[in-house]
């Protein structure tokens, strides 16, 4: 969960990129890493196999501009998408503040997307969290590929509640910062709301 250090005037939030294998979670993080000022981010930690499959998780600490005098830090994580690494995914979700669900738009990945989304719900439930209370957005990635499903079908499949979603081409950076911004705004707003309600 987000931590607020009043002495240091610092807020720290955890954002997790979730999705099926090879959907572009690490690519999102790599793009952010490459396109943020080095003094406002830490080193990207990535444990991957030679086949560029995430083995454990990727991690990127990132600092945003001050909000109401508070230094705001985001810890960006990805999870390994492969089905067999569920315990790692579960571990990474512990204390999550916001989720970007990355969806591979290719037709042949539809079922994997759906299964990954259901897996996300199950793993959140194991901590007593739910998508009802945890902010998330949906990113439809790989929109530049030739055989992609229409967004209407993706929405119908993954996002019938019409949670904020956006199209992206993470490899070229399209929609990467847009998605990050959309989730960060919601995480901070949720934090404020919780504070007012005396939950946080």
């Amino acid at each position: 969960m987000a931590s607020i250090n009043y002495a240091l005037k610092e807020i720290s939030c955890k954002i997790v990129y979730y999705g099926a294998g090879m959907c572009g979670k690490t690519t999102n993080l790599q793009y952010i890493h490459q396109h943020t000022s080095p003094d406002k981010r830490g080193n990207m930690v990535s444990l991957a196999t030679p086949g560029e499959r995430t083995l454990f998780f990727d991690f990127l600490p990132l600092e945003a501009a001050q909000i109401h005098g508070f230094k705001t830090k985001f810890q960006l994580y990805t999870v390994p998408g492969q089905v067999m690494y569920n315990s790692t995914r579960k571990l990474v979700l512990r204390g999550v503040d916001g989720i970007i669900f990355v969806c591979d738009s290719q037709w042949e990945k539809m079922r994997e997307n759906l299964e990954s989304f259901r897996n996300l719900q199950d793993n959140l439930a194991s901590y007593g969290y739910s998508l009802e209370t945890t902010p998330y957005i949906v990113q439809y990635n790989k929109r530049d590929l030739p055989r992609v499903a229409p967004v209407e079908y993706l929405q119908y499949l993954i996002n019938p509640r019409q949670i904020p979603s956006m199209e992206a081409i993470a490899l070229h950076g399209d929609g990467v910062f847009g998605s990050l911004n959309a989730i960060c705004v919601r995480v901070l707003a949720n934090l404020t709301r919780k504070q007012k309600a005396g939950v946080a």
Binding site: H35, Y140, P150, P164
Partner: protein, 322 residues
Amino acid sequence: MPRQLWEAMRRDFTAISGFSMAISFVAAVVLCLQITQMKAAPEWQIAGATVWIVQLAIFGTAVYAWRPGISLSGWILGILLLILVSLSLTTTTALTLAFLQGVGDFPSAFSRTGSLGPRVCAAFFALMVSYPVRILLPIRRERPIRKRSRDGDADAGIAAGGDPAVLLVGGDQAIPVWDARNRPVGSSAPSTSISSLELDGTIDLPLGAVLAQVPRELWGDTAGDYASSHLVSVPVEVVVPQLKEARIAIRWLDLYEWLPPGAGRAEPELGHDKRDELVLLPLELVVLQLPPEVFELPEATAPAWAHVDENESVLFATIPAK
């Protein structure tokens, strides 16, 4: 058409079908004979027209139930077939009766088999006798579902060479993949539930794309004789409920019914596991043919955290892309 009929006959009309028809026929004649020997009570005398109306109603219902999606001509053909079988049963019974009672007493035999009891018996046995040939009755080929494409009115896709990825129109014009990239995402859509949509009609899938999903041992002898662009009509009501699962799985026996004659195999010898095997239809070809109303979502029900001032943003020290 006669070739297709012959193919259907060759594929679906097995020796067991013929045997069961013959047995039913003989059993019907024997039972009709028994009933003819019985003396009917006076209150059982019903007007001939009433008997005909009831008989037609039973035949019409049976044919419709046998063959979902049957065409009008097929329905009429089915009823005529049943009447013919029914009449042949009563005639055979009459001839047998005349033979047993003494040659030459045909009028008396016919009048006895024309009474209510034998006719009802013949009508019900006609259903049993004709059941195996129901598969030869033609079904509807209507296509009310509008095909969908980015440019509007392009017609159904045809897969070339069995590759479900390649869509062709009129031979070589490619259907553009529907590009939703520039459409607003997350906007609230008018409320329409699937149940409120009319799910009649069919969508057409290229045979090549369908067979590509079917295990080779289930292919029929003449599967290779059809062009891969030959269209297979699949009822919309079968695919729409499965869209939420991101896959369209059809039991082989059901799919087999929609394939052209000889393209598949479904003999009982294949066993239940093969005949009940699930075949995945190419999702892309299905979804792109469905009308947009199918994917309309109900009113947005996003939780409270989802609503923020969209003008707000968290600033990151980004380096502009080169």
